[in-house]
């Protein structure tokens, strides 16, 4: 195992449980704490990436470009990253993000659709950015299929390609097999992004490291979509115990989690029944809050919605299918109730 590079994504993946309401003050405080504690990369943007502010995903309280600018001006050593999903974000937002302080862009596609990202890697390189490719929902495809897609991103100019367990559905051996295959096939770095829906966020990250991962992700207090991500402060403690601490201040990160992030969190992301269902059914972690809301509105169990979305093979970004499924389930129940009444 080698000492990994850690990216903290509290200010991006954490945007989901925060319902995209981060303020400049919160961003400044979190960036200062992460920077002081030696975290080398801090990701900031709408949870669904640049231009994610929408009815589909939820509108941002503060423009992500303003948040990026705040982050950059509060970081002394750390570099600022942003996420973008082609199909949602475009070259325009990427240029603006670079102008406002982003140094690294993480370009994410569904793990079968890497070829929609060529333009974006091209522009990122022209802008002099470091680039990371994100293969989302990677539990849905085999290591061999993922290698093909990762090679495309490498060819477009990715400096690192991530296996992204967007659904928190992987077991440690799934994470390890995928990272190992990419390590064997690529000459660029390989990363792993975990979700904790099955309670395996840290375990899967460790399995990825044993398989050779160069980069990993965390969020303070696990503040991320679904049951959250691997907690940054936990990863720091575990890496330290392994003798692989990449220069992180373990107590400093615990304090940041405890005193800066915990007090502003609307709830503690945790593998509760709905979040476990996400990992179990293999659906996108950000569906959690939308499914809860639709469940309440149309009087349907959110778990039924999530399982049905898994059956329909919904992919990253398809929050709009949640209403569709909720309406179908609610109609199905009404019609069976009516049938009962006539018996």
């Amino acid at each position: 195992m080698k000492t990994p590079r850690l990216t903290d994504t509290t200010l991006r993946d954490g945007s989901h449980p925060m319902r995209h309401q981060f303020t400049r003050q919160q961003v400044a405080a979190i960036v200062q704490a992460l920077d002081r504690a030696g975290v080398p990369v801090i990701e900031v943007s709408h949870g669904d990436g640049l231009a994610g502010s929408s009815l589909q995903y939820g509108f941002s309280h503060t423009s992500e470009f303003d948040l990026i600018e705040t982050a950059r001006s509060n970081a002394e050593r750390a570099r600022i990253a942003a996420l973008m999903l082609p199909g949602i974000g475009t070259l325009r937002e990427l240029k603006e993000a670079a102008a406002r302080g982003v140094q690294i862009v993480r370009i994410a596609t569904q793990c079968t659709e890497a070829d929609i990202s060529e333009q974006h890697f091209g522009l990122a390189k022209e802008l002099g950015l470091e680039t990371v490719g994100f293969l989302m929902m990677a539990h849905m495809r085999s290591p061999e299929e993922l290698v093909e897609q990762a090679r495309l991103m490498e060819a477009y100019g990715a400096d690192c390609v991530y296996i992204v367990d967007s659904a928190g559905a992987m077991l440690p051996q799934d994470a390890a097999a995928r990272v190992r295959s990419l390590k064997a096939a690529l000459s660029v770095q390989v990363g792993f992004h975990a979700h904790n829906n099955l309670g395996l966020g840290v375990a899967n990250t460790l399995a990825a490291l044993e398989a050779g991962a160069d980069q990993i992700d965390g969020c303070l207090r696990g503040l991320g979509a679904g049951a959250g991500n691997a907690a940054t402060e936990l990863l720091a403690a575990v890496l330290d115990r392994l003798g692989m601490n990449p220069g992180l201040d373990v107590f400093g990160l615990m304090d940041a989690a405890e005193y800066i992030v915990a007090p502003i969190m609307p709830f503690q992301p945790f593998p509760d029944r709905d979040a476990i269902t996400i990992g179990y059914a293999g659906v996108y972690s950000t569906f959690l809050l939308h499914a809860k809301q639709a469940g309440a509105q149309y009087n349907v169990d959110p778990r039924e919605i999530l399982v049905e979305l898994g059956r329909r093979q919904a992919v990253a970004g398809q929050e709009d299918w949640i209403i569709d499924v909720a309406l179908d389930l609610s109609r199905r129940r009404q019609s069976s109730a009516q049938k009962g009444a006539f018996v």
Partner: protein
Amino acid sequence: MQADKIKVAILGSGNIGTDLMYKLLRQSGAMELAMVAGIDPASEGLARARQLGIPTASNGIEAILADPDIRIVFDATSAKAHVRHARLLREHGRVAIDLTPAARGPYVVPPVNLGAHLEAPNVNLITCGGQATIPLVYAVSRVTSVRYAEIVSTVASQSAGPGTRQNIDEFTFTTARGLEEIGGAREAKAIIILNPARPPILMRNTIYVVPEGDFDENAVRDSVAQMIAEVQQYVSGYRLKNLPVIEQRTTPWGKRPVIIMLLEVEGAGDFLPTYAGNLDIMTAAAQRVGELFARHLLSKLEVPV
């Protein structure tokens, strides 16, 4: 040249071009398909055209420009390629019906403004997502003004060819502009998602509309129902999965009622299977627009001397 037909050509032998070829053969109307031109002599589209006895060319636009009888050219290449094609076709006096999101000419969405630009040298069909969703945004904006419209188009991965994949940003920009200019929304946003599910999914579109103020829900529902029927005249698989739903949502303009429409587009299966409703709505719109242009050109030919 037959006196009652206008010669047309298809430029681009990918999914869209091939689907359009089958539509024009099935129902040619005032058009005669005189050529299919591509750049890959080994492409499946050109092979199919040859089998059907249609003249083909594999040197791109050159063969089309060399035949002065071809008056209308459907461009089904890519946004980047169309920028060059648009200039060449204009210089050679041909009408371009652009199926890429290059947006060099005015936008046309048949049930909204079919006959609006008959003298234009180049008209643009926006995008598949635009052809699917703009009619419904227009159906709302004609009864109540629209502050904001947002659409999410989800298409089967198998139905998105390399042109779409390399031009995904152009899809976003052009669809959003079309929602504003033709759909009538003050501001708009478009999102596209490729779904690789096995078996492939039907094209799905979710349309969110935020009206400016209070509105008559029944008037909106009636207008939408009427529009669905109009589009069904040329895309029979165009249907709402539900009646429009109204939800209260938090928006940058405060808590507002949002009209949500869940649209499904099942294709006619002319070339790709029926799941590719995104191709079907594009090529069916192109055929409609081409037919009108062809009749318009014929009517000019018939002007008594």
